[in-house]
Subunit: 219 residues, 2 copies
DNA sequence: TTAAATTTTTAGGTTAATCTAAAAATTATT
DNA sequence: AATAATTTTTAGATTAACCTAAAAATTTAA
């Protein structure tokens, strides 16, 4: 069945919200991520339910059907593969690629996606450490922790970020916090939960709890 | 000013028609290439004129303004660069790339286009021999002849095609008629204007006038 | 140079996606 | 349990892009 960019974006947003909870997703939550009004969301949910991509009962919230999940994962796959392409092949920085990938994720050609995947060497994660679903829509399981949950004196490795915003990514770059960086947690300050940490064995610096919450690490 | 995919496609079609003539372009001609109705074209031409991208007076036909020309050329540039990418980097055949490029040509990022151009080695032509406008929108001048206009016993080189259709391109591939092929015209048959030609010094074969008309060569 | 044929435009509708404002349902609070 | 607050849906419009049918303008032919 034909699908519009807008419908794809709704499915993607419902998918994203569903990753964080097992509850049904509220109209308002979708509206906020879609940057639209609840009334528009209601219209669209009816339409997506008619097409069989979501299960929706009014006032009860929405969740993806098996088919909707498959579509959402294929868009996520495209988004993340294109981000790898933009960074690895086109030389963009990790804070510059999200908006372009938002466009590229809607390009429709299975052949192209699979050739791109191969060309990039079948990457498991995108430039932000997010897992890339394979051809069958299976997401590799990556059990990462938030840096903010790690105890003092531990050593860990920066594996990803929990946020794609350009300002956040640019800050990390400025602090030398890149994917793969080795982090030695020297001390956690009780007062503001800021972390005194050495990055790749350099002289330790302070990073805020707010930043640490958005950094994903492997111990 | 914001531009929709549809508007971009109209500008591209008007541009294509304008290459073949210095006359104003008729509503019907646009309708045919856009695969839509004349009434819809009239609506859109009024809109494009309001935006300053075409000069249009009712019943008098349409032509691109300087700004419209610039937009059209930037879309052509993107289309052809992506086609090069698909063939050179993704390993597609020349008959498989047009439809995908129709989608990719609407991706909006000057940075990406210019990085792609560089990554591809600043190609002058696409996989069909069509010239690629540079960053400033200047088309390299390629003075090619139609194979159907070459006299017998001449030797020439296949530089491009005058048609992108998959069936035509697949036929050329089957006949070993690829870009850069050396063509020795042995004889032209007066009856059906078919051509007896040797391709890359192989045993000569017959090709129809219809095919020859759509092959571009350099002597 | 009038009449016929063709092209193009206008008139009036449709569909997808959005909006605001008001009504209805659900959830939270006394 | 009743009321208040919040969330969600419905009602009614708007805009972009398209359609068919009819009217108007232009071009061609008699
Ligand atoms: Mn992204
Ligand atoms: Mn990402
Ligand atoms: Mn093409
Ligand atoms: Mn081409």
């Amino acid at each position: 069945m034909a699908i519009s960019f807008t419908e794809e974006n709704y499915l993607k947003v419902i998918h994203r919200l569903s990753e964080a909870t097992s509850e049904d997703i509220s109209t308002n939550a979708v509206a906020e991520l879609m940057q639209t009004k609840a009334a528009s969301v209601t219209d669209m949910l009816r339409k997506l339910a008619d097409k069989g991509w979501v299960n929706y009962q009014k006032y009860q919230g929405v969740r993806l059907s098996a088919e909707g999940e498959k579509i959402a994962l294929s868009i996520v796959r495209k988004h993340r593969l294109w981000e790898v392409f933009l960074v690895d092949k086109m030389g963009f920085n990790w804070d510059e690629v999200h908006e372009i990938a938002e466009q590229l994720e809607h390009i429709e050609s299975d052949q192209l996606v699979n050739k791109l995947d191969e060309y990039l060497g079948f990457p498991k994660t995108d430039p932000h450490g997010d897992p890339i679903p394979n051809k069958e829509g299976v997401l590799p399981e990556l059990a990462y922790s938030h840096l903010s949950d790690i105890k003092a004196t531990k050593t860990c490795k920066l594996m990803g970020v929990a946020q794609d915003s350009a300002v956040f990514l640019q800050l990390l770059t400025k602090l030398n916090l890149n994917l793969g960086a080795k982090l030695d947690i020297k001390e956690i300050n009780e007062f503001d939960r800021s972390i005194f940490v050495s990055i790749n064995d350099a002289a330790p610096i302070f990073i805020s709890h707010e930043v640490a919450k958005n950094i994903l690490v492997k111990i």
